[in-house]
Symmetry: C2
Subunit: 381 residues, 2 copies
């Protein structure tokens, strides 16, 4: 993109055309749960420009099914921009005229970063289940290498929703001197039994699909049924009872007067089936297993059961935003993070938004959310 095009997009308040880049870390990377790989790649995108002091960098961490493409478009033909495009751009709450915004596909992922579906340079074959187990801590340590590669010592802000919020908290804990601000949305300090249970059902659907073949499936011949069922179910947990009632209620699918037994009959069924099918086309089943396990093992309470222990060294200012209708990581779990930080004498704030869309509220357009994000991140002075 030349400078003239760049300016034209900026005047429209849009990030516009973007290209991803691949960062290859050429040294061995050892994983928290054991195992190592000889090198790793993180695919990432950036928006805006790093300033001379290199102190205006914001790192965005994606959720389970997200990726590095959180703003702009890859082609003018793209139907949809990146997943958080409405919040990132010139003059937007995360203002790319002031900040240098970075987002990378997590290690273990399937969108260009090293993960079970990527090629092991040592063998020329995909890792599949030989890829080591991944934790939230591993994701953050890999991101740290990317940040260093970009010449950045200290991040102005790290933020993300859901699994992205876990990473943001982990940044504040692992690299207390590298993070000024942390913003977590719809997140938790540990997965509770119900959240683990839902993930386990998804994993059961995938690993019992004969096409999974112990994780050794070929590209394009994966456990599509299992993965789509996992996604359909997970999608319900990202929504809310009220939101579903308002969006679908008991509406019947149009033009489907006569129902053939177990065909799709209600709109909500059609919607979920679509979500399942669409997911299979863009996501790797093994990464789904790896990431859900990373979520389930995330537990900042640790063996002591004391969240304050985890937060003892945090220096960042922290804002956590919970959503009233989020029942996957309900407000109470978000609030607990801030209470524990406050008990440690940290600078932390909790905000709660009364949006109807459940867990995924952090992904939707909302002036109230924009205000909070903008106020917390603020204009770079």
């Amino acid at each position: 993109m030349n400078k003239a095009e760049d300016n034209a997009y900026a005047q429209q308040g849009e990030v516009g055309l973007v290209e991803y880049q691949d960062f290859v870390h050429p040294e061995p990377f050892t994983f928290e749960m054991g195992g190592s790989i000889e090198q790793f790649t993180l695919r990432y995108e950036t928006y805006g420009r790093l300033n001379a002091h290199k102190d205006n960098a914001i790192l965005i961490c994606h959720a389970l099914s997200g990726d590095h493409h959180c703003a702009g478009v890859h082609s003018l033909k793209d139907r949809k921009p990146g997943w958080w495009n409405h919040i990132i751009g010139p003059g937007k709450p995360i203002d790319t005229t002031q900040f240098f915004v970075i987002c990378s596909n997590c290690i273990g992922g399937c969108q260009g970063s090293s993960g079970p579906s990527s090629i092991n340079p040592a063998t020329g074959q995909p890792y599949k289940l030989k890829f080591p187990l991944v934790t939230i801590g591993d994701m953050v340590r890999a991101q740290r290498q990317l940040i260093a590669h970009l010449g950045i010592d200290r991040l102005y802000c790290v933020l993300g929703g859901s699994m992205g919020g876990m990473q943001a908290l982990q940044w504040a804990i692992e690299y207390p001197d590298c993070v000024e601000r942390v913003l977590g949305l719809a997140t938790t300090a540990r997965q509770n039994a119900q959240a683990i249970a839902f993930n386990e059902v998804g994993r059961a659907a995938i690993t019992q699909d004969p096409a999974w073949q112990g994780g050794a499936y070929e590209v394009g011949k994966g456990p599509d049924v299992g993965l789509s069922v996992a996604r359909m179910m997970a999608h319900i947990t990202y929504f809310s009872d009220k939101g579903m009632d308002e969006k679908f209620g008991r509406n019947r699918r149009e033009g489907k007067q006569t129902v053939q037994q177990f065909d799709v009959e209600f709109e909500v069924e059609s919607y979920l089936r679509y979500q399942g099918r669409a997911f299979v086309n863009r996501f790797d089943a093994n990464t789904y297993l790896y990431f859900t396990k990373a979520l389930d093992r995330f537990d900042l309470y640790g063996d002591s059961g004391c969240l304050e222990d985890a937060f003892a060294k945090v220096n960042a200012r922290v804002l956590v935003i919970g959503f009233t209708t989020d029942w996957l990581f309900p407000p109470q779990q978000n609030r607990e993070i801030v209470h524990a930080l406050l008990r440690c004498g940290k600078h932390a704030t909790y905000a709660e938004l009364g949006m109807d869309l459940g867990h995924d509220s952090f992904l939707v357009e909302s002036p109230e959310l924009y205000e909070l994000v903008h106020a917390f991140i603020g204009p770079k002075s």
Copy 2:
């Protein structure tokens, strides 16, 4: 069982040994959504004795995964008695020294009543998907034939939880002069979008399992993976966040120090896997499809969207009990039933119990629940 044994059980406050019976209705039965079968069977059990006036009969309606065996044991070797044994028996809240208690497997079921897995007498082959679609109304009309066969004109009480509560309400609506009391627990006047959504994920898991074969699978070669995944997921919706945290929390499975990637790691996972496996051994996948569709189509609000229209002719006294932690059919949905009945000038009461076990609270032992049930049913005068 001879009379001496019978008395011995009664003195222990237990129903004791029971045998099921099969009621064969030898005439054609036409289903609400279309289609008919030449005759139908309902498998049922009874406890206690019908009095001379035949006015002490209580009908218990089972939930999605339940059956006719709700009290007593079939053999002294049985590990577990019927699913509501703790509430039914001599001196129990549903007192079999005073009442004649009836429970039948619903039409469409798989425990002896006519359903997709039972033999079509006309062909000598199982119906499979040629069995007509079933509604809650069909279940109740079939039960009505059983009741008539037993020589009963009027039921002292009809009660049940979840899908059983729907049937109880349907009895009050379809046969207003045949029901004195109706007790619904953890139920709803219509499935909302979220409940439909969960059922649809279960159906997607079953119908996309290659072993389903369009419903034509042979006995013992069914879609076990799909059905077990459906059951695992459904089980989460029968529980509560709080209940799961108290029962399992993040406890690791004992004796499983080293974790092999995607093996079961947490106790809650092990519990769900067990539930899935156990269900496959006792339940037919096609019946699961039929019953979940019956649930999803249940809508007493009807086209008018007015619950009072449905309740206009109800004569029964109605008690509805909601459970605070039930998020499948939350308290509000139970309360709405009673509010609508009261708006029609009916005799109706709502009670709410603060139990932690979610939707399945109606199945667990609880003195508060016993008191309510006993007070509503009362001693037969």
